[in-house]
C-alpha cells in the first residue's frame, strides 16, 4: 500500500513534469519550431478535456447503475463531430474571423457586440461550470482517500487535498494561461500539457481494461458471459432518456466554455478540425471500450463498493499497485486538464465581460490613454482564475461531496446548454435578435437553476422550506414538481421545460423585436461567414488620431507588439511614417487585434471611445452600408413615383375626356342654337326680300307679312327662353315668393296657355276640392311650368277626343300635381331625352317651340325645391309636378 506522502510526492512530480512539458512547448513555439505541437493530433488530444474525471471514473459507475446509458455521453459528441461537422467548421471559421475569445464573446459579438449579453452568458457559464469544478476536486480527493490508510484521511484530509489541488491548478493556469494577454496567440504550453494528460488517461483506462479482460477474466468471451449473467443484462433501455441525454451531450460539446476554448479559440488551423472529425470520435470510442467489462467485473469482485471508483479499486484489490497508480494519475489528469481549461475560459470571460467593463466604467472620467490597461486586464484574469477555483472549492464543501458524480455532471451540462438556441440560431438565422437571445437564455437559465440547481446546492433552512413547499407556499413552483408534474425524470423534465421555454422565447422575442444595424451586420457576418470571412465594421476615418490609438494599443497589446502592428500597417499603406493612417481598414484590424485580448465588445468600446466620441454614428454608417435596405427603399420610392405618375396620367386623361365632352356639348349646343335662330330668320329673309321686290298682290303681301311677324315672335320667344334657361341654370334667378292657392295658379295657367279659347277640343278634367291648397311659392314661375305642360298636351296629345286630367294628391310631406292625357304617350326611349334642351318629339309638326320648354320647367321646379318627372304606366303622357313641403301653408 502506497503511503499518502508517497502519493503526494508522485502527484507533485507529475505536475512538475507537466510544467516542464508546458515550458518546453512554450519555448519551442516562441522559437517558431512548434512542429508536432501545432498538429491535428495535438488539437484532437486537447479536445479530450471533454472526458473529465467524471467520465474517467463516473462512466463505469454509470454503467454499473444504469447499464449502457453512459454511452449517451459519448454518442452526443460523436454525432456532432461526424454528422454536424459543417456546424463545427462554421463555428471555428467565425471564431477565427471575428477573433472570438470565448463562448460569451461569441454570443455577444453575434448580437451586436452586446456587453449585457456577454455578462449574462458569463454568469451562466460560471454557474454551470462551478459544480463541475467541484466534481473534479471531489474525484481527486476521493481517489486520494482510496490510497490513504483508514483514519489518516478524513474530512479534514479531503479538504486539505482539495485546497492543494485547487491551488496547484490555479497556479498552473495563471502561469501558462496568463503569460500573454492575447488569447488568440493561443497557449501552446497549456495545450501540450493537456495533450499529454489525454494520453495518460487513455493509457490508464486501456490498461485497466486489458487487465480486467485478460487478467481477471479469461478474455472477451468470458466477459460477454459475465455481462449476460450480471444485472446489467436486464437493464431496460429508456428511449426518452437516451435521446435526451444524447442531445444534451451533443449540446454540451458545443456550449461548454472549456470545449469552446479548445475547439475554437485554441484552434491553430481550420484543417485540424477535419482530422479531429474522425480522430476525436475514435478517442471517445477507445475511452468507452472497457467501461462495461470493468463495471461487470467490479460488481462481481467488489460488491458493495462505490462503483464510481471501480477503475481505481479493482486493480488495487487485485494487488496491482502500479496499475492503480497509473489509474490515479489518469483520473488526476482528467480532473486537472478540465480544471485548467475551464478556469482559463471562465477567467477570460469574467475579465473581459465583467471586470474590465466595470473597471472601464469606474474610470470612465479618466483619460482613456492613461494607466496600463494591460496590467489591469492580466490582473483581472488572474484574480478570476483564483475566484473560479475558490467557487469550485466552496461548492465542493457546501455540497458535502455526497451526490453521485454523474448527476452533477448532467446538471451542469444542461445549464450551459441554455446557450445553444442563441448560438445555433445566431449563426444560421439572421433574424435572431439580441433581445431574443437574452430572453431565451435568461428564461432557460432561470428554470434550470430553480428546478435542478437549487435542490442540489441548497443547504440552508430557509431554502429547504421553500424547496419542500414551493416559494410562498405556491405548490406548482416547487422545484421538485415543476408545474405540479410528478413522477417524471427530473433531468428530462427540466431539459424539456428549460430548453423549450428558452427556444420559444428566443424565437418569439426575435420575431417581435427589430435588430439594431450593428446586430444586422454582425448577424450577416456570422450567418454568411463563408461568403466573406474578413470581418467588416464601418469605422469612420480621420477622426481618430493615430497617436492616441497607438497609446491605447500599447496598453493592451504591449509596447513591442503594438509598435510592430502599427509599423506594418503604415508600411502596408505605403507610408514612410511610423504611424498608419487611421482608415476604416486599419481600425477594423486594430479592433480585431484588441478583441483578441479584451473581447469584441470591450475592444469596440475602446476604439469607439477614441475614434467616435464626437461625430461617428455606427448606426449612420451601417445605414449607409446596408445596401439591401437602401435598394429596397429606392425601389419602393420608384414604385411610388411610378404609381403617382400613373395616377396623374389617368387624372389628366379623365380631365381631357371631360373637356372633350364639354367641348362637344358646347359645339352641339351652339349648333342647336344656330339652327333654332337660322330657321325663323330664313323665312323672314325670304319673305321680306319678296315684299321688297314689290310685284306681289295684296293677299300674298298680307300673308307674307303675317309669316314674318309670327317668325319674329318665335325668334323673340326663343331668345327669352335661352336667357331664362341661362339664368335658371346659373342659379341667378330671383324668386318672388308669395302666398297663393294651387287652384288659382292652375286657373291662370289654363287661361294663359289658351287651350280652352283655342277651341281645339282638349278637355281639362280637374278636382277643384283637392286644389284648395295654400302655397308659399313663386306663383308666376309655377304657372310657367303648368303652361308648358298644358301646351305640350295640346300639341302632342293624339287622341280622337283629347283629354287632360289634373289630379292633386298629398303624399307625406309634399304635394304631387299630375297632368295625364289620354294620348298614346311618349315612347320609352324618348322619355329621358324630352327634358334635354332643344329636344322635340318627332310628331311635332308645329314649329312653335325651340324644345326648351321642359328643360326650363325642370330647372324652375328644382329652384322651387320640388321636381318635374315623367310618370310611366298611365297610357297617355303623364307629367308630375312635385311641390316641396316648405311650399305648403296651413289652410
Amino acid at each position: 500500500m502506497l503511503s499518502l506522502d508517497g502519493l503526494i510526492a508522485i502527484c507533485v512530480l507529475y505536475v512538475l513534469g507537466l510544467f516542464a512539458v508546458a515550458f518546453w512547448a512554450e519555448k519551442r513555439a516562441a522559437e517558431g519550431r512548434a512542429g508536432w505541437l501545432n498538429s491535428p493530433l495535438t488539437y484532437t488530444l486537447s479536445l479530450s478535456i471533454y472526458t473529465t474525471a467524471w467520465t474517467f471514473y463516473g462512466a463505469v459507475g454509470s454503467a454499473a447503475r444504469s447499464g449502457l446509458e453512459f454511452m449517451t455521453i459519448y454518442l452526443g459528441p460523436v454525432i456532432v463531430f461526424v454528422g454536424w461537422f459543417w456546424l463545427l467548421r462554421k463555428l471555428v471559421r467565425i471564431g477565427r474571423a471575428q477573433r472570438i475569445t470565448s463562448i460569451a464573446d461569441m454570443i455577444s459579438s453575434r448580437y451586436g457586440k452586446s456587453g449585457g449579453l456577454a455578462a449574462l452568458v458569463t454568469v451562466l457559464a460560471v454557474v454551470g461550470t462551478t459544480p463541475y469544478l467541484a466534481l473534479q476536486l471531489q474525484s481527486v480527493t476521493l481517489s486520494f482517500s482510496v490510497f490513504a490508510q483508514p483514519g489518516a484521511f478524513g474530512q479534514v484530509g479531503s479538504d486539505v487535498t482539495a485546497i492543494w489541488v485547487a491551488g496547484g491548478m490555479a497556479l498552473f493556469t495563471i502561469i501558462f494561461g496568463t503569460r500573454s494577454l492575447d488569447v488568440n496567440e493561443r497557449h501552446p504550453g497549456l495545450v501540450s500539457a493537456i495533450a499529454l494528460e489525454a494520453i495518460v488517461k487513455l493509457a490508464a483506462l486501456l490498461a485497466v481494461g486489458v487487465f480486467v479482460v485478460w487478467g481477471v477474466a479469461d478474455g472477451p468471451s468470458d466477459i460477454l458471459d459475465r455481462i449476460a449473467e450480471s444485472p446489467l443484462a436486464e437493464w431496460q433501455l429508456n428511449g426518452a432518456r437516451w435521446v435526451g441525454l444524447t442531445m444534451l451531450s451533443a449540446a454540451a460539446i458545443l456550449c461548454l466554455p472549456r470545449m469552446f476554448q479548445v475547439l475554437v479559440v485554441e484552434n491553430a488551423d481550420e484543417r485540424h478540425l477535419a482530422t479531429a472529425a474522425w480522430a476525436f470520435p475514435l478517442y471517445l470510442l477507445l475511452m468507452s471500450l472497457f467501461v462495461l467489462p470493468i463495471a461487470v467485473v467490479g460488481l462481481q469482485v467488489l460488491p458493495g463498493a462505490n462503483p464510481d471508483l471501480y477503475v481505481l479499486t479493482l486493480p488495487q484489490a487485485m494487488g496491482q499497485e502500479g496499475l492503480a497508480l497509473l489509474v490515479f494519475l489518469g483520473g488526476f489528469s482528467s480532473a486537472t486538464s478540465m480544471v485548467i481549461i475551464a478556469a482559463l475560459a471562465l477567467s477570460t470571460m469574467l475579465s473581459n465581460h465583467i471586470i474590465v467593463p466595470i473597471w472601464l466604467r469606474l474610470t470612465a472620467g479618466d483619460d482613456p490613454m492613461s494607466g496600463d490597461m494591460r496590467r489591469v486586464a492580466l490582473m483581472a484574469r488572474r484574480l478570476s482564475i483564483i475566484g473560479v477555483m475558490a467557487l469550485g472549492l466552496i461548492y465542493y464543501r457546501a455540497s458535502g461531496g455526497s451526490a453521485a458524480l454523474a448527476s452533477i455532471g448532467l446538471i451542469a451540462f444542461l445549464g450551459v446548454a441554455q446557450v445553444l438556441p442563441a448560438l445555433i440560431g445566431g449563426i444560421f438565422w439572421r433574424g435572431a435578435t439580441r433581445a431574443g437571445a437574452g430572453a431565451g437564455i435568461a428564461v432557460g437559465f432561470g428554470i434550470w437553476a430553480w428546478v435542478l440547481l437549487l435542490p442540489n446546492a441548497a443547504t440552508s433552512g430557509l431554502m429547504e422550506g421553500m424547496l419542500a413547499g414551493g416559494p410562498f407556499g405556491i405548490g406548482w413552483l416547487r422545484p421538485e414538481t415543476p408545474l405540479g408534474i410528478t413522477g417524471a425524470d427530473p433531468l428530462l423534465l427540466t431539459m424539456v421545460l428549460s430548453l423549450g421555454s428558452n427556444l420559444a422565447m428566443f424565437t418569439l422575442v426575435s420575431l417581435v423585436t427589430f435588430p439594431s444595424p450593428m446586430e444586422r451586420l454582425q448577424g450577416a457576418q456570422f450567418v454568411n461567414v463563408f461568403d466573406h470571412s474578413a470581418p467588416a465594421i464601418g469605422w469612420q476615418a480621420g477622426v481618430a488620431a493615430a497617436d492616441d490609438l497607438l497609446v491605447m494599443a500599447q496598453r493592451i497589446l504591449g509596447t513591442g507588439r503594438a509598435g510592430r502592428l502599427f509599423q506594418e500597417a503604415a508600411r502596408a499603406q505605403g507610408r514612410a511614417a511610423r504611424l498608419p493612417d487611421p482608415d476604416p481598414d486599419f481600425l477594423k484590424m486594430l479592433e480585431r487585434e484588441l478583441a483578441g485580448s479584451v473581447g469584441a465588445a470591450t475592444a469596440h468600446a475602446m476604439v469607439y471611445q477614441i475614434t467616435g466620441g464626437t461625430t461617428v454614428s455606427v448606426q449612420d454608417l451601417l445605414a449607409v452600408a446596408d445596401e439591401t435596405a437602401q435598394m429596397m427603399e429606392y425601389s419602393s420610392r420608384l414604385e411610388r413615383q411610378s404609381q403617382e405618375l400613373t395616377r396623374s396620367a389617368r387624372q389628366l386623361r379623365e380631365a381631357n375626356q371631360k373637356l372633350t365632352q364639354l367641348g362637344e356639348q358646347k359645339d352641339a349646343f351652339l349648333s342647336q342654337i344656330s339652327h333654332e335662330l337660322r330657321t325663323p330668320m330664313t323665312s323672314i329673309r325670304a319673305f321680306s326680300e319678296l315684299l321688297k321686290s314689290g310685284d306681289l298682290d295684296e293677299a300674298a303681301r298680307a300673308r307674307f307679312a303675317g309669316i314674318i311677324h309670327a317668325e319674329s315672335l318665335r325668334l323673340t320667344r326663343l331668345l327669352d327662353d335661352l336667357l331664362d334657361l341661362s339664368v335658371l341654370e346659373h342659379g341667378r334667378v330671383s324668386l318672388n315668393e308669395s302666398a297663393a292657392s294651387l287652384g288659382d295658379v292652375l286657373d291662370r295657367a289654363i287661361h294663359a296657355s289658351g287651350v280652352i279659347e283655342a277651341g281645339e277640343g282638349l278637355r281639362i278634367l280637374r278636382d277643384v276640392e283637392a286644389e284648395r291648397i295654400s302655397l308659399w311659392t313663386d306663383p308666376d314661375r309655377l304657372a310657367q311650368v303648368f303652361i308648358n305642360i298644358l301646351s305640350n298636351a295640346r300639341k302632342y296629345c293624339d287622341a280622337e277626343e283629347p283629354e287632360l286630367r289634373i289630379t292633386v294628391s298629398r303624399l307625406g310631406p309634399h304635394v304631387d300635381v299630375d297632368f295625364i292625357d289620354n294620348g298614346s304617350g311618349i315612347p320609352e326611349r324618348q322619355r329621358r331625352l324630352i327634358f334635354e334642351k332643344f329636344t322635340r318629339l318627332e310628331t311635332a309638326r308645329d314649329a312653335q317651340g325651340a324644345g326648351l320648354g321642359l328643360a326650363i320647367s325642370r330647372e324652375i321646379m328644382a329652384r322651387l325645391g320640388g321636381g318635374l318627372t315623367y310618370v310611366a304606366g298611365h297610357g297617355g303622357a303623364a307629367f308630375r309636378v312635385r311641390l316641396p313641403a316648405r311650399a305648403l301653408r296651413a289652410a
Binding site: R678, T679, T682, S683, R685, A686, E689, L690, I707
Partner: protein, 123 residues
Amino acid sequence: MKGRVLLVEDEVNIFEAISFILSRDGWEVHGHGNGATALAEIARQAPDVLVLDVMLPGRSGLDILRDLRRDAATADLPVLMLTAKGQTKDRDLALALGANAYLTKPFSNAEMVATLRDVAGAS
C-alpha cells in the same frame, strides 16, 4: 317649265318661301316634310332636282343623300343641300357624300334661284 323640283323640308314657312321663289322662276315644285319617308317619295316622284334639308324629323338629310348616291337610279340626281347649322364640317360632309351644292340658311332668294339653276344645269 324648267323641270320638277322635290323640296324635302319640314319647316312649313320655309317650304312656302322656297316653293314661291322657285315656282316664279319656272320650276314645278313639290314638297315633302318627313325624313323617314323621303326616299320613297323621291322614288315615286322621280324629280329632276332635289332640294334636301339636313335637319328633318325621322331621318337626317345626310343619311338620305348617302342612300341616294348608293342607288344607281338616283346616283346622278342633282341635289341641293340646305342646313341651318352653319358649320363648315356639315358642308364638307354633305359635299363628300355627293351633294352638288350646299346653301346655308338664311340665304338670299337670288342665291337660291341661281344655285338651283346651276345644280340642274350640271346634270
